[in-house]
C-alpha cells in the first residue's frame, strides 16, 4: 500500500501537465502495474465471481475468474437463460477494456486552450465543486435550460440517471444519439398500440425465442434486425437454435447478414422503404383474408367506427379512468351503429369493413381505413419502390401468414429514418392482424417480471415530477415531437440548432456521459462550431475519446466489470457485481447524485427536494452510495439486501412455466370480473392509433402537464414517406450522389466503443464499405481497395469489400473512429466515420423527430491508400495491451 501512495505522488509530479494520451497512457506502467506481484505471490487461488456483461445492451451472464484481485479470464455463465453460457467477442474482450492502459484514471481538468489537449489531475472534490459552481452560475445567468446533458444508448449503467438529474436541476434538455433514432419509435408505438413490450430481439425482448424446447413457433420474421451481429450471444444463438429446430425465417435487410444468408426468404430491401413493404404485406393479408378474423374483431379497435373528418373514434360514452370507453361499431344484423361495451357483445355482429353515414357524418371502421391506406401498395408497387421481386415478396408474406404462430421482430433499421414511427406501427399491425399476440409461439408477450429493474430494465427513477411545467415547455423539440415525452428527451438537432442560432435560447453547458459523440451523432462535423461556442463541457467516460479533446473536465467512470446492477433475465435475477475497482473511477449513477448534492448545497431548491424522502416518495430520494440504492430493489424483489443477493445470485424467482404467462389479456380482473385486456385505454389493441393524435395535441399520456399542440396532427395509421435523399428517377441529388448508404452492426464493436481493444481491432481493423462488384467496376474499385465515400455533408475513407450480397445501388458501412489518431489534427473522428456523412436536418419524423442515419445518398471513388496515421496491423495495437493493476478503494467524496 505504501508503494501505491508513493507512486501516486510520483505520478502527480511527473505528469502535472500533459496530453490526454500520454497522461493516461504509458507513464503509469511502473506505478500501478505490479505485474511481479502476481507471479511472486504464493500459488494464488482463483475465485470465480458471477457477474453480467455490459459491453452491449444485453446482459449476458459472466463467470469472472479473479486471481489476487485481478481479473484473469472471462467466460459465459451457463445459468443465464438467454445466452446459455455463451459470450461474444466484445464480452470476452472485457479484460482488455478493463485494464486498458489509457483508462481515464482520475478526474482531470483542462489547462491551456481547448483542443490543445493539456490536462491536469484534480481531486474528485475539486472536479465536482467546479462543475456544480459552473452549473449554478449558468442557471443564475441564463436559466437552467441552458445546461444540457447527453448520454449513450447502450452500455449505459443507468440510463435514467441523466433525465433524473436534468429534472432535478430544472433543465428539460438531455438527449441521446439513439432515442428517436433507436428504439423510441418502437417502444412508443408498442406502448400505445399494445401496452406491452416491442419485438426487438437486440433489446432483449421476444422472450419466447429463448425456450426452444417449449415453443410451437413456426416462423420468425427478422425485419431490419440481425441478431447474429447485434446480440450474438443471446438472440443470435437463440435464433440459430430455432432455425436448427425447423422454424422458418424471413429476413428483410439490404445486406446479406448471417441471418439473411440462412433465411428461407431474404428480401434485400432498398434502405428506408420499409413502410411501403409493410403496407403491401398488410394489403395482401387483408385482400386474401389471411388475418385472424376472430381475434381482430374481438381484440383490436379495428371494428370501431372513426369519424372520417375528425379522425377520432366514435364513443358511446367516456368512462371513468381505468374503465375503457364504450366505442361504436356497425352492427350488420341491425344495420345500425351500436355501442360496444368492453369487452364484447355476443348480440352484435360488428362489421370489420365498411363506410357508413351516421347522423350525417361519414364514418369508417378502423379496419376500413387501414385497408384504404394499404390499397395502393400492391405487390408490384412495393417491388418497384423497394427494389424487390414481387414473387419473392409474396413468398415471404405467405411464409409468415400461413405458418402461425410466429412473429415479426422489428430491429433498429427502421428507427433510423424519418419514417420511423410508421414502420413500428406497420410491424405492430402485421403481428396483430395475424393474431400473433400473447400466445405460445409469438413475439408479443407480457411474461412476468420480478420487478428488480423496473424502469425499462434500469433502476434509477427519472422523477418526472421534479421538472416544472414552465421548464418542460422549454424542451428543445419537445412540443413538436411529443413522442419524445415517453423518454422525456429533447431532440439533438433542435439542441444543435439552438446553440448555433441562439433560438429560442442558447444552450451553454454540456455534460456528457458516453463514448465518442462524433462517432454516433448524425452529421457530426456540424457539432464542431457549436462546441466552440459552449462555455463548459464535461465528459464522463472510461477512456478519452475524440469528444474528450473538446472538453474542460474529464471524469473517470467505471467499466462494466467494476459496476453493480441487478439484472433480470427471463425467470431469473442476476447480479452484475463489481469484480474489481480501479484507480479513482466512479459509477456514474453516483456521479450524478453527488453533483445534485453539490447543487443542493449551493442553494438549488429543486435539488434539495430531490434528497427529501417524503417529497420524493416512489421516485426515491437521491442516494449516497450504490448499495443504498441497490438494496431498495433487491429487498423488494427478492427480500435480500444487495450484498446477500450478489452472493446468492442468480436466483430463480419463478419456475419457467409460470414465468411464461400467455393470454394475459384474457385473465379475469377480480375487481371488474372482466378480462384484463391490454394495457391501453380501450384495453384493446389500438391498431387504429387515435392515441397518436391525442399525444400530438396534448402530450397525453406521457406529459405531466398539458402541452400546446404540435404544428400538425400525428397520423393514426402508418404511411410511407419516400426517403428525402431519394435515388429514384428525377432526383437531382442522385445525379451527383447515386448510391444509397446504410449501416448495421458488426459483431465485435458496440457503437463507438472498443476501437481501442487490440483483440477486436485485430479482427476488424478498419471499416469496410460493402459494394456490389458491378458498381465497383464502374469506379474501377477492386477488392480491398481504399475508397473515398462522400455525401453532401462530408468525405471519409473506407476499405472496399466487394460483395454480391448487396444491391448495386446500395452501399453499407458501419461506424468507426480511430483512438490512435486522437492526438492529431483529425482528433480521431474524421478519417473513417460514417456519421460525417449522415443527415441531421429536416425532414424529421413527425412524432419523435427522427433524423436520417440510414438511407441517404453518397458517392464513392478510389483512394490511393489508407488515411494517415491509422493503425492497420496487429502489432500496432500492442500499445493498447492491458496493463492489469490491483484493485483500489472506492473514492470517498
Amino acid at each position: 500500500m505504501k508503494q501505491l501512495v508513493l507512486n501516486r505522488r510520483q505520478f502527480l509530479k511527473a505528469t502535472a501537465v500533459t496530453g490526454i494520451a500520454t497522461a493516461l497512457g504509458g507513464s503509469f506502467k511502473t506505478g500501478f502495474t505490479q505485474g511481479e506481484a502476481v507471479n511472486s505471490a504464493p500459488a494464488a487461488e482463483t475465485k470465480i465471481i458471477k457477474t453480467n456483461c455490459r459491453a452491449c445492451i444485453a446482459n449476458c451472464g459472466v463467470l469472472a475468474h479473479v486471481k489476487n484481485g485481478r481479473v484473469v479470464k472471462l467466460e459465459g455463465n451457463p445459468e443465464y437463460p438467454m445466452s446459455k453460457g455463451a459470450l461474444c467477442a466484445k464480452g470476452l474482450a472485457g479484460i482488455q477494456a478493463l485494464y486498458h492502459p489509457n483508462r481515464n484514471k482520475y478526474p482531470m481538468i483542462r489547462v491551456g486552450n481547448r483542443g490543445e489537449n493539456k490536462w491536469k489531475r484534480i481531486s474528485w472534490d475539486e472536479a465536482l465543486d467546479t462543475i456544480a459552481k459552473k452549473l449554478m452560475e449558468t442557471r443564475e445567468k441564463y436559466g437552467a435550460e441552458t445546461v444540457f446533458c447527453s448520454t449513450g444508448g447502450g452500455g449505459n449503467p443507468e440510463f435514467w440517471s441523466i433525465p433524473r438529474f436534468c429534472n432535478a436541476f430544472g433543465t428539460p434538455n438531455w438527449f441521446e444519439p439513439g432515442c428517436a433514432q433507436c428504439y423510441l419509435p418502437r417502444t412508443l408505438t408498442f406502448a400505445l398500440m399494445y401496452g406491452g413490450p416491442d419485438t426487438s430481439i437486440a433489446d432483449s425482448n421476444c422472450l419466447e425465442i429463448y425456450d426452444p424446447d417449449d415453443t410451437p413457433m413456426k416462423t420468425l420474421v427478422m425485419w431490419g434486425t440481425d441478431p447474429s451481429y447485434s446480440c450474438p450471444a443471446g438472440g443470435g444463438g437463440a435464433v440459430a437454435e430455432l432455425r436448427a429446430r425447423g422454424v422458418r425465417t424471413v429476413v428483410i435487410d439490404p445486406r446479406l447478414t448471417p441471418d439473411a444468408a440462412k433465411a428461407d426468404v431474404w428480401l434485400p430491401i432498398r434502405p428506408g422503404t420499409d413502410v411501403a413493404l409493410m403496407l403491401a404485406w398488410t394489403r395482401y393479408i387483408i385482400d386474401k383474408k389471411l388475418y385472424d378474423q376472430d381475434f381482430v374483431l374481438k381484440w383490436t379497435n379495428l371494428p370501431y367506427l372513426v369519424d372520417v373528418k375528425t379522425q377520432m373514434l366514435l364513443r358511446a360514452s367516456e368512462n371513468a379512468e381505468g374503465t375503457p370507453d364504450t366505442f361504436m361499431v356497425w352492427d350488420t344484423k341491425t344495420n345500425s351503429a351500436q355501442p360496444l361495451a368492453y369487452p364484447w357483445n355476443d348480440n352484435l355482429t360488428p362489421a370489420l369493413e365498411g363506410t357508413f353515414m351516421i347522423n350525417g357524418v361519414e364514418c369508417k371502421t378502423g379496419f376500413q381505413l387501414l385497408k384504404e391506406r394499404s390499397e395502393p401498395y400492391t405487390l408490384e408497387k412495393a417491388a418497384e419502390i423497394c427494389w424487390l421481386d414481387a414473387n419473392k415478396i409474396e413468398e415471404a408474406i405467405k411464409l409468415y401468414a400461413l405458418n402461425s404462430p410466429g412473429g415479426i421482430s422489428l430491429g433498429v433499421a427502421t428507427d433510423q429514418n424519418p419514417n420511423s414511427v410508421q414502420a413500428a406501427m406497420g410491424a405492430g399491425t402485421l403481428n396483430v392482424l395475424m393474431g400473433n399476440v400473447e400466445k405460445p409461439g409469438v413475439l408479443m408477450n407480457r411474461f412476468k417480471t420480478s420487478g428488480i429493474a423496473p424502469i425499462f430494465t434500469y433502476i434509477v427513477p427519472p422523477a418526472l415530477k421534479l421538472l416544472s411545467e414552465e421548464q418542460l415547455k422549454k424542451r428543445l423539440g419537445g412540443i413538436e415531437y411529443k413522442g419524445l415525452l415517453q423518454w422525456w428527451a429533447a431532440q439533438p438537432s433542435a439542441v444543435l440548432d439552438a446553440i448555433l442560432t441562439g433560438k429560442p435560447y442558447k444552450p451553454r453547458v454540456w455534460l456528457d456521459r458516453s463514448g465518442n459523440k462524433f462517432g454516433v451523432l448524425a452529421n457530426s462535423s456540424a457539432w464542431v462550431p457549436a462546441l466552440e461556442q459552449l462555455d463548459f463541457i464535461v465528459h464522463m467516460y472510461m477512456y478519452p475519446t475524440s469528444f474528450s479533446t473538446y472538453a474542460d473536465i474529464l471524469l473517470p467512470t467505471t467499466e462494466w466489470l467494476e459496476t453493480n446492477m441487478p439484472v433480470e433475465s427471463m425467470n431469473k435475477v442476476f447480479a452484475r457485481q463489481a469484480v474489481t475497482h480501479l484507480w479513482e473511477t466512479m459509477d456514474e449513477t453516483l456521479i450524478w447524485s453527488k453533483l445534485a448534492k453539490r447543487c443542493a448545497d449551493l442553494g438549488h431548491e429543486n435539488c434539495q427536494k430531490a434528497f427529501d424522502l417524503d417529497f420524493m416518495g416512489k421516485d426515491l430520494p437521491y442516494w449516497n452510495s450504490m448499495e443504498e440504492l441497490l438494496d431498495i430493489f433487491t429487498k423488494s424483489a427478492v427480500k435480500m439486501n444487495w450484498k446477500e443477493f450478489a452472493q446468492k445470485a442468480p436466483i430463480e424467482y419463478l419456475p419457467m412455466k409460470e414465468y411464461k404467462e400467455y393470454y394475459v389479456y384474457k385473465k379475469i380482473d377480480p375487481q371488474t370480473g372482466l378480462p384484463a385486456g391490454f394495457n391501453t385505454p380501450s384495453k384493446k389493441l389500438e391498431v387504429y392509433m387515435e392515441n397518436m393524435i391525442i399525444l400530438g395535441r396534448t402530450g397525453k399520456p406521457f406529459s405531466t402537464y398539458p402541452l400546446p399542440p404540435a404544428s400538425k396532427d400525428y397520423n393514426p395509421l402508418p404511411y410511407f414517406l419516400e426517403p428525402h435523399e431519394s435515388p429514384l428517377e428525377g432526383s437531382e441529388l442522385a445525379k451527383e450522389f447515386p448510391l444509397v448508404m446504410t449501416n448495421g452492426r458488426v459483431p465485435v464493436y458496440h457503437h463507438g466503443t472498443l476501437r481501442n481493444v487490440p483483440w477486436l481491432r485485430e479482427i476488424y481493423p478498419v471499416p469496410e464499405i460493402w459494394i456490389n462488384p458491378k458498381t465497383a467496376a464502374k469506379y474501377d474499385i477492386s477488392q480491398g481497395d481504399w475508397v473515398y465515400v462522400e455525401s453532401k455533408r462530408g468525405k471519409i475513407q473506407a476499405k472496399a469489400w466487394l460483395t454480391e450480397g448487396q444491391h448495386p445501388g446500395v452501399v453499407y458501412m458501419e461506424r468507426f473512429w480511430n483512438p490512435e489518431t486522437m492526438d492529431t489534427e483529425t482528433r480521431g473522428w474524421r478519417e473513417m466515420n460514417v456519421n460525417i456523412l449522415s443527415k441531421n436536418d429536416a425532414p424529421f419524423n413527425d412524432v419523435v423527430g427522427t433524423y436520417t442515419l440510414r438511407g441517404y445518398l453518397v458517392k464513392i471513388s478510389k483512394a490511393d491508400g489508407p488515411p494517415k496515421g491509422v493503425w492497420l496491423k496487429p502489432q500496432e495495437f500492442k500499445k493498447w495491451l492491458p496493463e492489469p493493476s490491483d484493485p483500489t478503494k472506492e473514492v470517498e467524496v
Binding site: G85, L92, G237, L256, P268, P747, E762
Partner: protein, 191 residues
C-alpha cells in the same frame, strides 16, 4: 484408436467471431498470431440469388499428420488422444511443419520464435471442461470428442446430420479428422 477432434456445424455458425477471441484469451495467443479464424465463404452467385456461409478454421487433427512427419525435432507430435501438439521446448522454429500443413493453420510466434497451433485446449479438457471456443460459442456449433468412438458427441452429431451433409477439407493423404456439417439448404459446400 482414439482421435479427438473438432466438428463444426456450419448450419448454425453465425460468424460472430467469439471463438477467435475466446481462443486468444484462453491460450494467450499473441497479436498477429492465429489458432482459430472464422472465414466468410461467399457470397457466391449473383445478387440477389446468393449463398454464404462461415467456416471456422483451426487444426484439423490429421490422422496422418504431415506436420508431424516434417518436424525434424519431434517437437510436433500426436498425443495418445490423437491430438497433434507442439512441444515448445523442442521446437527449433524451422517452420517446415507450416509448409507441410495443407491448410495453413499453424502460426509462427515472433516473440517466442516457435510455431503454435490449436491444442484443442487440452489443458481444459484435462480438467473435464470444454475448449474455450466450444464453451463460449453463441450458436453452439462446435463439438469436441473422439471421432473414432461412435458414441461420442462428435460421432453423434455427424450421424444425425447424414453423411451427405458432412464435409471434410481436401485430403492429400493427411486424413484430416475434423468434420464440417453443412446442409445444401443453407449453402453448397465449396471445396
Amino acid at each position: 484408436m482414439t482421435q479427438r477432434t473438432m466438428v463444426v456445424d456450419l448450419d448454425r455458425c453465425i460468424g460472430c467471431k467469439s471463438c477467435e477471441v475466446a481462443c486468444k484469451q484462453e491460450n494467450g495467443v499473441i497479436l498477429g498470431c492465429t489458432w482459430n479464424k472464422v472465414l466468410t465463404v461467399g457470397p457466391t452467385g449473383m445478387f440477389p440469388k446468393v449463398e454464404m456461409y462461415f467456416l471456422p478454421t483451426m487444426c484439423q487433427e490429421c490422422k496422418d499428420a504431415p506436420c508431424v512427419k516434417a518436424c525434424p525435432t519431434g517437437a510436433s507430435y500426436k498425443n495418445e488422444d490423437g491430438v497433434v501438439l507442439i512441444d515448445k521446448e523442442k521446437c527449433i522454429g524451422c517452420r517446415y511443419c507450416m509448409m507441410a500443413c495443407p491448410y495453413g493453420v499453424r502460426t509462427f510466434n515472433e516473440e517466442t520464435k516457435v510455431v503454435e497451433k490449436c491444442t484443442l485446449c487440452t489443458q481444459l479438457q484435462a480438467i473435464g471442461e470444454q475448449p474455450a471456443c466450444v464453451k463460449n460459442c453463441p450458436a453452439k456449433c462446435r463439438f469436441v470428442g473422439d471421432i473414432d468412438d461412435p458414441n461420442s458427441d462428435v460421432s453423434q452429431v455427424i450421424q444425425k446430420a447424414g453423411s451427405e451433409n458432412v464435409h471434410v477439407l481436401p485430403d492429400v493423404g493427411n486424413h484430416p479428422s475434423a468434420r464440417y456439417i453443412l446442409h445444401s439448404k443453407t449453402a453448397t459446400w465449396k471445396e
